[in-house]
Subunit: 135 residues, 2 copies
DNA sequence: CTCAGTGCAAACTATTTGCAGATTT
DNA sequence: AAATCTGCAAATAGTTTGCACTGAG
């Protein structure tokens, strides 16, 4: 099964903890989960693996490129499976909802701006904090 | 002097700690300082006020709109005096240098994208992680 | 004089790490 | 069996808070 291969090809052993964490990332309705979210889901599933392991595995997944880590606000980091194409985020300050979007125009402009300053973009983070128009 | 007024008009008493912290923010060559950076500078100036106070005052300054807080990476938050006009940041991953920039085109595009999703932008954060072109 | 502000130490939150025992290959 | 992995608890890092004392208005 491809889940196991994804883990194996990262040079990691295919363990219970890793399979379950990857499973949660793949099947959760929310695409952006904190280590604690994941831990709670595992507990609910009677598959608890301990917070330390959740953090360790998530970091290994990040290193392996299986998922990426965001720091939207000051609180806890959230993780999502590495998306097939790059996108940015809009976070609703009322509901906490996360909306993904991509915009070629903004991407290009960023490259230009970096180049104008003598730099190349390694990574970037764009988060719009928004609220519903009706209030 | 205007520094005292800035503090006073935020409804805060003009204390030694607040004057010194504001002074550091105004005079430091680096425009983005962490609570710890500020604490260290105060110690060097023989004006130590204690970390707790630094954090408390910085948060009060943020609430008062005197400064703003950024979470560039996972580590510590950094503070800068509220800029007269909005700008974004480019952080060099090699040197840690922070470059400010603004781009009307990107700003407009963000508004459009939020509106398309039924939202209004409350705030946003755009950080480009960059490296020098020569390597 | 009164109430806000301060400093210290203890508390907290998010995350990491050491280690002995359990698992994967 | 060898090497990696896990779970626990203890350690860290950054930041916040309770409290008795100090200082600004």
């Amino acid at each position: 099964m491809s889940k196991n291969n994804e883990i194996r090809s990262a040079g990691l052993k295919v363990t219970h903890a890793r399979k379950r964490i990857l499973e949660v990332l793949e099947t959760s309705k929310k695409s952006h989960l904190s280590a604690d979210d994941i831990n709670k889901i595992l507990i609910k599933n009677n598959d608890e693996v301990g917070v330390a392991t959740v953090y360790r595995v998530l970091n290994q997944f990040v290193d392996a490129g299986i998922c990426i880590k965001h720091n939207f606000d000051s609180g806890q980091a959230v993780f999502e499976l590495t998306p097939s194409h790059h996108h940015d985020h809009m976070v609703c300050v009322k509901t906490g909802k996360v909306i993904e979007f991509e915009d070629e125009l903004i991407e290009e402009r960023q490259d230009q701006l970096a180049k104008q300053n003598g730099y190349r973009i390694v990574d970037h983070s764009l988060v719009l904090f928004v609220e519903p128009i009706d209030d």
